[in-house]
């Protein structure tokens, strides 16, 4: 498994969602359900209380209505009963005493019944008498129409005090007053029985008045009408004084919607200018009553709820019989007046519920925290278990390594176990050699690359401070080795190339002090597994003590065991099939001074012919091989001469041809090289075909800057190196097929006019970037 793997498939998928549900979902759901239950109970309780309150309200209003009905009946009854009694008295009384009976009876009634305003007595001859209260409320005032029906008819007024004595008498013009022209008289005669007029406004008093009249036949066979006038002000005051709920009202209306008394009387009267027929409710001013009355007109009497402006009102309409007619009693009260306590109760309950919910939420949150904590602890314990298991496994595998204490064995498992345990990028075991001045890397393990290396030596002179720390047996934990004085030198020498940053050093202590050091680079868990590192250090110390030879001695032994070179010293320049600068650009021999070839060449064409290892070594007969190669070398030399190449050199399996090795760019170099490549390919192919061999070579060409010069002591060797050399080799190595010539983009650009190319593709080459490569197919 790669250590860089993002998802470890061996770990079961995270149950994060389930845990989220368990730790958050359930408490939240619990709290929500508690809230829902409380809200539901609260709502139900509120509804129950409200319904009960409304039922109670209804009962209350019904009893209120009964009470009002009785009050209104008792208000009207004296008129009704009084009229009947008066009728009977007057009907059977002599006409001579009729006036006296009227006066006596009416005065008595007027004194005892406050709502009676006045009495009328009129007959079919136009006689008219009126009895009313005195101006100061004391006594009575009697008005009699004299000379009725004549031009000199007048009203004779007589004011009497409480004792019946005449206080004042006077007359006023009657203006042809005739009772027979008035509704209360004619309608009563027409009805022939007790008759109640519609309310009307009395001009004099500006009071709304109601008249109950009764007709009778006198002994003189004349038809009389006895009328009792009631002031509705008393009824109005009574109705207004009623308290229905907090802000409820009562109103008395007739069936046509005319207001008779009660709430809204004053405003309605003002709006109607005293005309009783216009005294109807204004819906804009009294919307609730108007709506309640409309509902009554549709549905009839009864209790119901109306909703106006988002507010509920309880209304009750009842029938109130008045004589032969009947009135409508309308009671209106806001629902809140009665159910407000239920609302307040509900609100209080809600407040308590919120408190309960808050407490429950708090407890739920604590539960959640506790669960998270528990889980974290559980995870930590599991992790600790896993680490312990892993460590014991690692220790077991180290202990089980059969050659652990065999100094001849490398015991690579030590560094591997160290790197695995500490997650270090690289773990190394170093030993202080017996000379005391050299630190030698016994084994170094690169965990990412999974490779071991070792054998580096570092002298104390280079790493004095680090060496001092090591030889003192200090354990170092350094986050940035480059910035620490003790390790900066070690960092430069050993760590920088690798790219590590942090360093953990643990000394290896022998019997007489530190004998080495374990280094862990970029090891995040190094400190956690320091005991493990100590154990490995102990093992390493034991191994060191078992090793009786020094690295220096071993190296000497190794050197001595190597066979001595018996080959004759060769001239390094012998690799050249064509000596550098032996030819001019035109293919003519030249005599260039080789001492002047050192330096930079801006545009050199380099061709590398790579001969396949497999085929070259597959030939069993070395003599045949050499002959083949010799022939090939001869052909290549000829072509190089022919094309005027700068040099051609054979190095192992490669043939390197150079052209255009001049200080100024030689534009023809690439052309000559491409020609040479094609010729060489043709010749080599035909030669290999003759030998019945498959093509075994690939060719790469590049043009670019190189450095060149004569190197070493006599005999000096000429060498070229630079980007073009590397690229040409790369082109040869990476040619798409055997026998093909792969060229770089620069060569293609230079030669596309003269040669045929096939694009191979685009490639990313480190250090160069994106480039295209082309296969040289032939000449145009």
């Amino acid at each position: 498994m790669s250590t860089d793997e993002i998802v470890d498939p061996t770990i079961a998928p995270s149950d994060q969602f389930r845990r989220f549900l368990l730790h958050i979902g359930i408490p939240v759901a619990g709290v929500v359900s508690v809230i829902a239950v409380i809200a539901g109970v609260g709502w139900h309780s509120y509804r129950t209380v409200r319904t009960g309150a409304l039922a109670l309200t209804h009962d209350l209003l019904v009893s209120q209505q009964d009470y009002i009905a009785k009050e209104v009946s008792s208000f009207l009854m004296p008129a009704s009963a009084g009229a009947i009694v008066a009728r009977d008295m007057l009907e059977h009384g002599a006409p001579a005493v009729e006036q006296k009976i009227f006066n006596a009876y009416s005065s008595t009634m007027l004194r005892n019944v406050p709502q009676i305003q006045s009495f009328y007595l009129a007959d079919s001859d136009g006689n008219f008498s009126e009895l009313e209260r005195g101006p100061d409320g004391q006594g009575v005032a009697i008005t009699t129409l004299q000379n009725p029906g004549t031009d000199n008819s007048v009203f004779a007024h007589e004011q009497r005090d409480a004792q019946g004595k005449t206080v004042r008498q006077w007359q006023t013009p009657s203006k042809q007053y005739d009772p027979r022209g008035h509704g209360w008289f004619t309608d009563t005669i027409k009805a022939g029985r007790e008759y109640w007029t519609h309310p009307y406004l009395v001009e004099m008093t500006r009071e709304l008045t109601l008249t109950a009249a009764v007709p009778y036949k006198g002994l003189d066979n004349k038809t009389y009408v006895y009328a009792i006038n009631l002031s509705l002000d008393h009824l109005n005051s009574f109705l207004n004084s009623l308290k229905i709920g907090q802000s409820g009202n009562a109103i008395l209306m007739d069936h046509d919607g005319h207001v008779l008394a009660g709430h809204a009387m004053k405003e309605t009267l003002a709006r109607a200018n005293g005309d009783p027929l216009k005294m109807v409710l204004d819906p804009s001013q009294f919307p609730v009553m108007s709506k309640a009355f409309d509902q009554y007109r549709v549905h009839g009497y009864g209790a119901r709820t109306v909703r106006v402006k988002n507010r509920n009102y309880v209304t009750i309409t009842a029938n109130l019989p008045v004589g032969t007619d009947s009135w409508v009693l309308l009671l209106v009260a806001p629902e809140d007046d009665f159910s407000r306590f239920a609302m307040a109760d509900g609100r209080q309950n809600l407040l308590f519920s919120i408190l309960v919910v808050l407490m429950a939420s708090g407890l739920g949150f604590l539960l959640f925290l506790q669960a998270r904590r528990g889980e974290r602890m559980h995870r930590q314990i599991e992790q600790a278990h896993a680490v312990a298991n892993y460590e014991s496994h690692a220790l077991q595998s180290v202990a089980a390594y059969p050659e652990l204490f065999n100094p001849e064995d490398n015991a690579l498992i030590l560094t591997e176990a160290l790197a695995d345990q500490s997650l270090a990028r690289r773990a190394a075991i170093w030993r202080i050699l017996h000379d005391g001045h050299t630190l030698m890397c016994i084994d170094s393990y690169d965990r990412q690359q999974d490779v071991h290396s070792g054998g580096f030596e570092m002298a104390t002179t280079d790493l004095k401070s680090f060496f001092d720390s090591v030889s003192h047996g200090d354990a170092l934990v350094i986050a940035s080795a480059a910035d620490d004085d003790r390790t900066s030198a070690f960092y430069r020498v050993y760590m920088r190339a690798f790219g590590s940053r942090a360093l953990f050093c643990n000394p290896i202590l022998g019997s007489s002090g530190p004998v080495g050091v374990i280094t862990l680079e970029d090891a995040p868990r190094a400190e956690m597994v320091s005991h493990f590192v100590d154990m490995i250090a102990g093992v390493a110390a034991a191994r060191f003590s078992a090793q009786h030879y020094t690295a220096v001695a071993a190296a000497r032994e190794e050197l001595e065991s190597e066979p001595t070179a018996e080959e004759e010293p060769r001239d390094p320049s012998q690799g050249f099939l064509l000596q550098p600068a032996a030819m001019t650009a035109e293919g003519q021999p030249s005599a260039t001074d080789m001492t002047k070839v050192d330096g930079f060449y801006p545009a050199v064409a380099i061709m590398v012919i790579s001969l396949s290892d497999i085929v070259m070594t597959a030939q069993d007969d070395p003599t045949a091989n050499i002959k083949l190669i010799d022939t090939m070398a001869g052909i290549l030399q000829d072509i190089a001469h022919q094309c005027g190449l700068y040099s051609i050199r054979m190095l192992g399996h490669r043939v390197v041809c150079v052209a255009g090795c001049s200080r100024v760019p030689d534009k023809g170099a690439a052309y000559r090289m491409a020609n040479a490549a094609l010729m060489m390919r043709e010749s080599t192919l035909s030669m290999l075909a003759k030998e019945d061999m498959d093509p075994v070579f690939r060719i790469g060409i590049d043009v670019g800057p190189v450095f060149g010069g004569m190197l070493g002591k006599e005999p000096q060797a000429f060498n070229l190196w630079g980007d073009a050399m590397g690229m040409a080799e790369m082109m040869a190595q990476g040619a798409p097929d055997v026998g093909t010539i792969q060229v770089s983009e620069e060569v293609y650009v230079a030669l596309r006019q003269n040669f045929l190319f096939r694009e191979r593709g685009r490639f990313f080459i480190p250090g160069v970037g994106l480039t295209r490569t082309y296969v040289l197919a032939g000449r145009r």
């Binding site: 061996t10 998928p13 490639f763 990313f764 080459i765 480190p766 160069v768």
Partner: protein
């Protein structure tokens, strides 16, 4: 997964015929870490389906396939994908995304499944590319590459990273001869690291050179999977 456990184990596996077209016979196969199993199958489509079967991409009507100790059928998508990320595969059909350059096709699985820095991946891929005969890391879209270069790129893609199992379909006919040796080298290096190899071949020629290093030779026929003797 313990060291001596099988890397890939097919135990009485019967794939669904509708999905695979494979004979619904019980298939048994066991690859230990570092082992190389050659499966001889002339029908490249059948080989591809069997490769899919081994990588848990075909539903089973019976049996179980365990890779690195994990049963494909018990894993969820995230685990499945991660586990498949441990497999290097050469697909006969190519399986290239031509919308992207070959370099992305090569590196994408490794970049997707690991935290390996891009520079490392590029370096590793370029190095592998060179080993397989590219001058660098090919950028051109896969469909613009020659068949030989596509085969090279397929090798680079399969061997990139540190796969635990190599499922290699036969591309010996398109892979240039000089790449056969790097192919064997890479395969051997991977096996040394503990990687198992499931190698589908169509003829004995393809694996003749490597015959000595093969642990198990099997033949995938219409009738099922049969073990052969490694000559």
């Amino acid at each position: 997964m313990t060291a001596n456990a099988p890397l890939l184990e097919l135990r009485d596996v019967v794939p669904t015929f509708e999905e695979s077209g494979l004979m619904p016979a019980p298939y048994n196969l066991r690859i230990m870490p570092g082992e190389c199993v050659v499966i001889d199958c002339r029908d490249e489509n059948r080989a591809a389906v069997f490769a899919d079967l081994c990588t848990g991409m075909i539903s089973l009507s019976q049996g179980s396939i365990r890779f690195m100790g994990l049963d494909w059928t018990t894993l969820r998508d995230r685990q499945l994908n991660a586990l498949r990320g441990r497999i290097g595969r050469i697909s006969r059909s190519g399986s290239w995304l031509n919308l992207f350059g070959t370099h992305l096709n090569i590196m994408l699985p490794h970049l997707y499944h690991t935290n390996d820095p891009l520079d490392n991946v590029v370096e590793h891929a370029t190095e592998l590319g060179r080993r397989f005969g590219f001058p660098g890391l090919p950028i051109t879209a896969p469909d613009r590459l020659s068949a030989a270069d596509q085969a090279r790129a397929a090798c680079v893609r399969a061997f990139l990273g540190r796969p635990d199992l190599l499922v290699l379909e036969d591309i010996s006919d398109v892979l240039p001869e000089e790449n056969v040796l790097p192919f064997f080298e890479m395969m051997t290096a991977a096996r040394d690291r503990g990687c198992g190899v499931l190698w589908f071949v169509r003829s004995a020629v393809a694996w003749r050179e490597y015959r000595k290093a093969v642990n198990l030779h099997m033949r995938l026929l219409d009738e099922g999977l049969f073990p052969m003797r490694v000559m």
